[in-house]
Symmetry: D2
Subunit: 421 residues, 4 copies
Amino acid sequence: MTERAGPVASAFATLATCRQRTLALCEGLSDADMTVQSMDDASPAKWHLAHTSWFFEEFILQPRVAGYEVFDRRFRYLFNSYYEQVGARHPRPRRGMLTRPTLAEVHAYRQHVDAALGRLSRAQPSLDIVNIVRLGIAHEEQHQELILTDLLHLFAQNPLRPALRDAAPRAASSMRPMHMHAFEGGRVRVGHAGEGFAFDCEGPAHDVLLQPFALASRPVSNGEWTAFISDGGYRTPTLWLSDGWARVQAEGWQAPLYWREIDGAWQTMTLHGECSPTPSAPVCHISYFEADAFARWAGKRLPTEFEWECAAVAQAGDADAGQFADDGHWVPHADQTQSPLENLFGGAWEWTASAFAPYPRFAAAPGAVGEYNGKFMCGQFVLRGGSCATPRGHVRPTYRNFFPPHARWQFSGVRLAEDRS
Amino acid sequence: MTERAGPVASAFATLATCRQRTLALCEGLSDADMTVQSMDDASPAKWHLAHTSWFFEEFILQPRVAGYEVFDRRFRYLFNSYYEQVGARHPRPRRGMLTRPTLAEVHAYRQHVDAALGRLSRAQPSLDIVNIVRLGIAHEEQHQELILTDLLHLFAQNPLRPALRDAAPRAASSMRPMHMHAFEGGRVRVGHAGEGFAFDCEGPAHDVLLQPFALASRPVSNGEWTAFISDGGYRTPTLWLSDGWARVQAEGWQAPLYWREIDGAWQTMTLHGECSPTPSAPVCHISYFEADAFARWAGKRLPTEFEWECAAVAQAGDADAGQFADDGHWVPHADQTQSPLENLFGGAWEWTASAFAPYPRFAAAPGAVGEYNGKFMCGQFVLRGGSCATPRGHVRPTYRNFFPPHARWQFSGVRLAEDRS
Amino acid sequence: MTERAGPVASAFATLATCRQRTLALCEGLSDADMTVQSMDDASPAKWHLAHTSWFFEEFILQPRVAGYEVFDRRFRYLFNSYYEQVGARHPRPRRGMLTRPTLAEVHAYRQHVDAALGRLSRAQPSLDIVNIVRLGIAHEEQHQELILTDLLHLFAQNPLRPALRDAAPRAASSMRPMHMHAFEGGRVRVGHAGEGFAFDCEGPAHDVLLQPFALASRPVSNGEWTAFISDGGYRTPTLWLSDGWARVQAEGWQAPLYWREIDGAWQTMTLHGECSPTPSAPVCHISYFEADAFARWAGKRLPTEFEWECAAVAQAGDADAGQFADDGHWVPHADQTQSPLENLFGGAWEWTASAFAPYPRFAAAPGAVGEYNGKFMCGQFVLRGGSCATPRGHVRPTYRNFFPPHARWQFSGVRLAEDRS
Amino acid sequence: MTERAGPVASAFATLATCRQRTLALCEGLSDADMTVQSMDDASPAKWHLAHTSWFFEEFILQPRVAGYEVFDRRFRYLFNSYYEQVGARHPRPRRGMLTRPTLAEVHAYRQHVDAALGRLSRAQPSLDIVNIVRLGIAHEEQHQELILTDLLHLFAQNPLRPALRDAAPRAASSMRPMHMHAFEGGRVRVGHAGEGFAFDCEGPAHDVLLQPFALASRPVSNGEWTAFISDGGYRTPTLWLSDGWARVQAEGWQAPLYWREIDGAWQTMTLHGECSPTPSAPVCHISYFEADAFARWAGKRLPTEFEWECAAVAQAGDADAGQFADDGHWVPHADQTQSPLENLFGGAWEWTASAFAPYPRFAAAPGAVGEYNGKFMCGQFVLRGGSCATPRGHVRPTYRNFFPPHARWQFSGVRLAEDRS
């Protein structure tokens, strides 16, 4: 499919590839692996497969294809995630009860939807369909990432510590010393504008005022995190936000999620099985609370999302050059590039100090699609940059991910910042 | 295998048949169906398959077969249910996390254990092995019943209301009018004595004093239960034990478990799908609290376990003649026999007024096997008679099943009693 | 008031004394001490004062005194404890919210009720009033005991460890060695019959069969309990019932309630402040689970309630001779008498192995009074003998107290038993 | 005390007046009223009395008065609120267990501290003491407000609906129609700078960019809120943030806190007893979730805290002219002034759309005082303007109050905003 084919055909071609990639991620998984739900926040891979198909049925096929026959009308209830305007839905914490429909039926569902999307693409739909197709692709990519994060959580509950797949071989690397990279700040344009796809919450573009700041040349490493642990970081209440310290005590946090001490040495569970955390690699599976406490311990602070974006734009590097899910190595590793801000894209998401809030003049889109991001703008913090579980091409400098401050099951790390005069 | 083969060979032959029946019950179930856990009290079918194999490894093969190689030494942790003397074990509410070992591996585990049992049986072990083999059979049969009860609970969580299997065809039947059958009581011998197998909690046999009483000729029916509902049974606190009424309010009970009202008519979920409860069939999936409240509403009471046993012995009927799991019809139906106490065995377990307590001079067996029943003698009530989910041959007149008074996911019903002068 | 005055006058005279004693117990308590509720199971002393007055309003004054004016019609809602037939009521866990009515208003309420009871007694009511007056006295006495147990729980939550009152002085005592006292058993009459007052659950009197048994000459002592702790009793799962072991782990039990270790020595909180537990005194504030585990550790068992009653009747001692609340020493101490079964009455309640169940042919009384005991006959165990917090004269050999197996805030201890041939 | 007396003497004089006002608020309360804790978030008035005294002991008397003798060294544990650097402390949800120390002892504690403060003030301490004295005053004022909010919560739990005090008489008033007042925005200075006292979180002062906006001339009224209720506001999920809707369902919200419907008419509980909400008065006791949902329903939005501050500064009104706690009327009423932004100060706190976050270059003070605000900068939203429960003189245009988005027991209301071009 060439660019000459026009934006509609191009979008559908990208979509087809994207849909295939979702299935490819699930290779090697059993029916049970794909059906069990390991916690309320996580969903089974089979559910992700079905939900991403439902999304196209609900938002493209039914509104735009005359005479489209839904695969099974009961799936609207089963596979709607959180769209109130679509109607009642199966409770999120009960997604793991759905041993039926079978995995084969869900695969048939996907084929049914894919076939209809193929027919639609060949019917030369009007150009305005591109936006919703692109949203569908971005949505599917988000669920690809969730398939990996949710599977890791499931496998980490299993005393047998299974691996999803062997790690792709890669050369050993060492992280370079961290130094602080200065930025002048001032009146800075942030947020998405222009042609390419972006989520609604990335706009409107607008100006903000930034005071001079500096951003670390690389994320905090496992080795540095081990020093934090050894120095009593998890036992020192004055390093923590009040809610964070309450969480440390209530849940007995002593290290990042998936770490445990065996015979005096830390081990970490990964999608490639349990292994020693590489000292020079970015730390991962930490909460906002931990990121913030580490920064305080280090005499630094977290960057705001606008400082991060300002630096990302200034660096002008290629957002797609980092370590992404397509590389098949689902543990963050140190960047080999010589860019001034290493590992900014890919590897591990970076917590920022910014609460996830609407940009000035943000307005949710009309209809159920408007529920995509806006209704979550409360109680969450922004993460930036993507991770090794994010599909390549998914993130941008303006991209805003968001999770509650206690969340740890995403591939989330931290980069330090500080004030400059 | 004839009786001439001797008790050891006979026990092993029965065991082999029993083990096959466990697998047969799971026909038609997917890997996911057998792995998901629908609540803390229920276990996945795959776990039942593995645990019943572990039982033989732990209590027969390892102690008695020199050089026996365990299939996987990690399974001792994964598939020990509650034996403290065996050591640490996977937490019960987390059994559903075990997507690994795979179903194929668990089948291989069963074959490994079955092969070793086969070799052991051919090695002519001494006669004393019979007791533990019989215990293993009875244990496996209990888990056969749990496979059915736990699957029904799982399928009832699914909005698609799947069926495990089509119901075996059977002739329509009508229940005869209930009348009260009088017994004189007096000094009565209860509990197990003699040759056949019985669980430890069924003995020692001992005498009890019973005052004259009467037992209903049949269990309470769905039709009668509907009258109780219509009369406000679930809204009248004075009918209920205090703890029962608290449960009614906290959980919003309005009918037996698995019943729901659709367009003004009750439907009930069964292993054969959702259907209308047959008015003449025994009511099922009620708690002790509900049984007790119904009895009070009806101006009767529950029988004690000794009244029940006394009547069962007096009736001298064949305990195996009732409706059992082997019939493949997993909803209680009205008895076709003309015995004075219809449906006493099979159909639905019958709650008694007796707390599950040790008989005088009861002593738990030494070792881990002693944990089988004794440590549960607190906070539970005795049920008698077996159900349509119980394997034929499993129950006896002295058999004591037990569950907490709020439990409803077993095939539990109720038979009324009253005092006589 | 002499006996010549007749049973009605006598009952009212006893009632007046009893009502005074309730107030006397509260001397030295502040408004706050009497209003705060320290847990759902406990009630504030002010609530006890009001509830016991409401009881007479509801069950004597309103039904029997023409034109009786209730003190405040809203109190029926506030101070009904659990009588469903009386109507809606303030939720039990919210009793501590009632800073109003004030303590002065509650005292005025008591005076209003007492004055009306006085007028009623002088009006020469018919003889049939005696039963309900006696029930009112027994009810008030039960709440006298609860005032002490609930206050101890409240004060134990306070880091200042306040004392209700200085202990009455008493001579030091040492406990004699424990020996087992044999009883033949056989067909034994149990339960209440005859003239005196008894609660409904103490009857009907009936025969039971007892096998030969022995009962310990005295309760288990603090010194013996310390040995149990030192021997790892609280860390050994095989000593415990399954539900008990779950409780030990969930709540971190390491000793009886109110014990804590300070600088290597056990201290116990009492109504006379915190002090060292006297080694020779009966252990107190243990649950059924702990009593049962201790007995298993000691190679003994708990007595059934009928064994206890049989022994109490055989001993023919004076039930009122023990250590009761009137003595003003609210910590159990060793008996100074030379009776064969020391401390059987008073000191500490003794857990029995018997679930609290209705006696054969038990029927609850009609009306709200019938809710007194019957609806609690599920999930509780019987305790016998009374405690140092029980008013003298309240208990009998047939008296049945009952609490859930995990309850520890009552003055509950344990006496061992064993089988004899 | 005149200004000539110098800032130190002036500060101590203000402090003495402030301390008296705390006691005056508690007039008419019983010991029980002041000791009971009605929920984890609320504290007993007695605890507030003691904690505010402990604050001076800990931060002024002990560090600055040689030989100062603490009143009771155990109070450091009992009355420390949340200062980790001060050490271990009594758990917040257990503050209501402290029937001891008695109320008299707490009053003696206050006198002990006040006497020591008096001696200190007469000893002519150096000028640098002013800052901590001013902080102590501001701190005491915050607890004066909490005494009222927490008492209202306690009395609202009581079915008798007691009143703290009769309402101060006031003339009837009617609210004027709401109109939107436009502001140009642009580069605006926000945050505290200069001489007067402010909390650390109000600075540093810095510039922000605001787009043109409009702010409502007055808060949303009870009458408008009733229209929102009638229009199904509490039943329409699309009006709500996702977390807000979850809360509506979980807690059954149907109206502001303290509202209940009696015979078809809304009643609201206040410190002057239960009464009809005045239609023209500002709505109160709503959460951020409700404020946000109402704004969406009204086609408006919440202002950011900087829009609010910008408008407050532009209006240049007198922050002390509003309805404050000193007026003794603890229900918001409509403003009588003719200012363009009515009720901006006093009446009810106004939720803003701004998460409570540190201003650029914010740094917590060293020592335990640094825990005052910084560690709560997560999961909360900013409220502005003070309420009828706030002491007059306590708030400023830069003042930032903060509570979690679900909190409703404060005197919190809402003022609408919108975008302008």
